[in-house]
Symmetry: C2
Subunit: 191 residues, 2 copies
């Protein structure tokens, strides 16, 4: 998505070979017009997948997910992230490891919001090792739903998440795919 790539080139800050900071428009300050355009683009790419529910995870996934939900006219559910949890039988729980923070979180979704046969589109802001996306996919499948696709704002293609998700049979669509952050420079995957 050209508009997003331009924004990354203009405002993204490369903190290391692994970390791109985009807090001026994606995960702290947010550009609502860009969010809307991303929602339109996800809706366009997954238009033929029969999506009836969008899943994401707090906090930075919420804005792109709600815009996609608005365009697709389906409800959106965001998973809660917590350190650890007392067991409750009305929620689905999956363990997700954050490489950035080097900690385990549990993500949860109330059972009443995903049903067998649902076709779920997963939306998230970043795809690195794929932990969050796999966690959401496992919850969807635990509920008997089908993962209709995974939409990512920024994919760090030099890490393993996208390959692993594709190998597991998921359709992954990323709006910007980053080949490398070496030498303080953003290089996109040639498409």
């Amino acid at each position: 998505m050209e508009l997003l790539k331009q924004k990354i080139m203009k405002e993204g800050i490369v903190l290391s070979g692994q970390v791109l900071k985009v807090d001026s428009f994606l995960n702290h300050q947010m550009d609502p017009q860009l969010m809307m355009e991303m929602g339109r683009e996800f809706a366009r790419r997954f238009a033929n997948e029969g999506v009836n529910r969008i899943l994401t995870i707090e906090s930075s996934g919420i804005a792109p997910a709600i815009m996609t939900a608005l365009v697709m006219e389906v409800p959106m559910i965001f998973a809660r992230k917590q350190k650890s949890l007392t067991l409750r039988d009305d929620i689905y729980v999956q363990e997700v490891f954050s490489f950035t923070k080097q900690e385990k979180n549990e993500i949860t979704i109330a059972k009443k919001f995903i049903k067998p046969g649902d076709r779920v589109l997963i939306i998230d802001d970043f795809l690195a090792h794929g932990e969050a996306a796999f966690g959401l996919a496992r919850i969807a499948e635990q509920a008997g739903a089908v993962v209709a696709g995974i939409g990512i704002v920024i994919e760090k293609s030099f890490q393993q998440g996208a390959d692993k998700l594709s190998a597991a049979g998921y359709r992954v669509e990323s709006l910007a795919r980053i080949a490398s952050l070496d030498n303080n420079e953003v290089r996109f995957v040639e498409e």
Copy 2:
């Protein structure tokens, strides 16, 4: 806002005289069309306030805030919530007490995203004791910005937040104002 009140009557679950559960459309599953209508309503009510920035707090504030930002065509910034923090001089920090969870959090916003003279609209999903709204207002004022208004989705008018914010001179606009949750029943403030 009539549409919101109807939704509360239809889907809200009164858990106690203090707690209304609205996780089917506001803070777990989200209804994107309703979010958009709420964004339009906030934009309408604060149209003459010269707002150039919207502030909220993760996670449930993000969706109504991004919709309001979309309609008003201004950037949105969401504060991060954390247990406690190593000191850093590039962020504003305020302590906020959560009565629901009975714990203190620190909320933070990067200094570069609020400037002296900014006119900030604060948006949040619930107003109870006013802790989160006061925390965001203190951050805005610490930055030399002006709080142009506070927009709330659901105000629990039987708690003290709205009165305290008004007494402090803030303009508070709530889309639904709840007078009481006694006897397992939602009663709105007569307007």
